[in-house]
Symmetry: C2
Subunit: 348 residues, 2 copies
DNA sequence: TTGCCCCTTGTGAACGCTCACACATCTGAT
DNA sequence: ATCAGATGTGTGAGCGTTCACAAGGGGCAA
């Protein structure tokens, strides 16, 4: 029980009367082990309570059993410091940890700066000190070709979370943004809305582009004319736009906001003017964060499958680490349209 | 740039014209290195872009540079699966990651089951596979003497997050629960309230006991009679209690709820009966979660310094790992009383 | 019977670091 | 002048795995 040294592969080998290597083969589920030897080894492992030492496995072989998720330092810390928290990080941890645990891996989070030189250096440190078996790149790092190149060069498998980027050939896991925008429009047209505006995010953001496309296409299909208003994901800009709409009287009857912040702004401006939601205005947003769920009234929203995407990314990376080569480039995960209390039938 | 093998300590030693050991001394900031040698080594490290390999460091020496936070599996997964998220985990990650990063360590999260036998086994696996330099135990694991004994036996430093437990001699980091309860009472008495009820949590929970004490003491000091109502941290129980108060007409003019769920229940029951908060009822709760911040009206609350506690725990563990023996048993971190919109002057 | 291949098994070395120790060199006290 | 102690430095071994390779035995075709 209280032995100083922990049980090693040697101990198991001795107990099972085989060699180190045979034990190793059993642990790693390699072929070429007789049923008899395998049984003896497994018995010995169970009896001695042997657990392989991760660091030693890394030293000897090629795997570290570590998957690394890279997030943007500035944005993440800012959210935390502001007391806003990071629902995104929480979701990532959920998906990643569960997926990794199931296969005997571990998930590590690391923050990397946006600035390219620093990013490269920090990535270098991470790669050589931890030697993760796989890397998960999130926005904005997932759009940085230099980082991708660096990983390629060092032969580190990585997966991008986000829409495919033509400049960065890599495995990408993402949500169907265009489809979600389409679903949003369809939900609203089904409620009788025709004048549906898209309070768009930043056009430099790949996801925003996809949403616009989906929105425009769906509006055309429904026979309505699209109305895209350029926001920038910020509360202030959205508030200005909403104010203009409400005050000039030509506001849409339904609004799709590309993120939660902008939806809050609309809700606030509407509230100030006594515009009841959803009686006189329907509002739906992308991003299903705690704020969205707890807002008053709770916002109808598109839920991004964050945990699922990260879990998928982990699975792909672990597959790769274990030698499975076949991999599709692009993996699309389903979104969810959650109807809460801010979308309702159009007032005639 | 694209060398297959990464730069090792040998390479640095050769470049600086010293031995491995001298390089190692410089890396680990050990004494007994001449200024000259140190400078040469540092130059070589910078020039070659050397970064020590964590796994190898673990193999050679005693440290793994890993700090492990242990959370309860069932509770954590349940929160995640229910879409509630884990603000607690997010906060822990913040505090832990920042503290570890600063000192070259890494933070890993692991879920462990509540059931003692499983917990022991899982802990055993974690200890021998990762060999973390330190372990952070959170509720309910922090109250499990067997787990603490196991860690002691295996000589793994650990820190409990939570009030000291007489059965478990160990370093504990916690918040001043009693003080917070006192502050809550003082805030409310300052607003003119005298009939302040404590909607208590589960008395088997150590923190709840401390809060009761603080509450009772503060009430006595203020010359009011305490009124503790036994809840169990659940929404339903709290709703029942609140309903009784409101319907029987002998409700308090201010309520301190021991967690967010119970506060929501009170808010809901009050709302149903048209009891305006804070006009006719003041409400304050422990736990400053997203739901609390976004509720309507936003709840006045006691913020637990979660991130800070974990950061402190990490610091203590890293100190220990690096040989600093002196350690106080108990570390109290300040809470914060955040006054939002559910506490106001007593209506005369 | 011989030869060949496959299946199973074992052996030494290597991974990149730190530990324990040994060895110089330099200082200052005897 | 000699020795003890401090200071700087280097050497071999070892950490617990896996890798690369070699070797033994059985089956089957020639």
């Amino acid at each position: 029980m209280s032995s100083k040294r922990s049980v090693t592969i040697e101990d198991v080998a001795r107990a099972a009367n085989v060699s180190r290597q045979t034990v190793s083969r059993v642990i790693n589920r390699l072929p070429s082990v007789s049923a008899d030897a395998k049984a003896r080894v497994e018995e010995a492992i169970a009896r001695l309570g042997y657990v392989p030492n991760l660091a030693a496995r890394r030293m000897g072989g090629a795997r570290s059993f570590l998957i690394m998720a890279i997030n943007d330092r500035a944005r993440t810390i800012e959210n935390w410091a502001a007391g806003r928290g990071n629902d995104w990080v929480d979701q990532m941890l959920y998906g990643g940890m569960m997926a990794c645990e199931e296969r005997g891996y571990h998930m590590l989070f690391e923050l990397v700066d946006t600035e390219p030189t620093q990013a490269a250096q920090q990535m270098q440190r991470i790669l050589t000190s931890l030697q993760p078996d796989g890397i998960i790149l999130t926005q904005p790092h997932s759009e940085n070709p230099a980082l991708a190149a660096q990983l390629r060069e060092r032969a580190r498998p990585f997966v991008r979370i986000g829409l495919p980027n033509p400049d960065i050939p890599a495995v990408s896991v993402h949500m169907d943004e265009a489809g979600a925008a389409r679903a949003a429009v369809e939900h609203l047209t089904a409620l009788g809305h025709a004048d549906i505006a898209l309070l768009a995010g930043d056009a430099r953001y790949r996801g925003s582009l996809a949403r616009r496309e989906g929105y425009v296409a769906a509006m055309r299909t429904a026979g309505h004319s699209p109305r895209v208003e350029e926001g920038d994901f910020s509360y202030d800009k959205a508030a200005t736009i909403a104010a203009r709409w409400f005050d000039e009287g030509d506001g849409p009857s339904a609004i799709i906001a590309e993120n939660d912040e902008m939806a809050f702004a609309v809700l606030r401006e509407a509230g100030r003017r006594g515009i009841k939601v959803p009686d006189r205005l329907s509002l739906l947003c992308f991003e299903d964060t705690p704020g969205v769920r707890f807002s008053v009234p709770p916002l109808s929203a598109i839920r991004q499958p964050t945990a699922e995407m990260v879990a998928k990314a982990c699975d792909l990376l672990i597959d790769r680490a274990e030698g499975k080569e076949v991999e599709e480039e692009v993996h699309v995960l389903p979104f969810e349209l959650i109807v809460r209390e801010t979308t309702g039938p159009r007032r005639r």
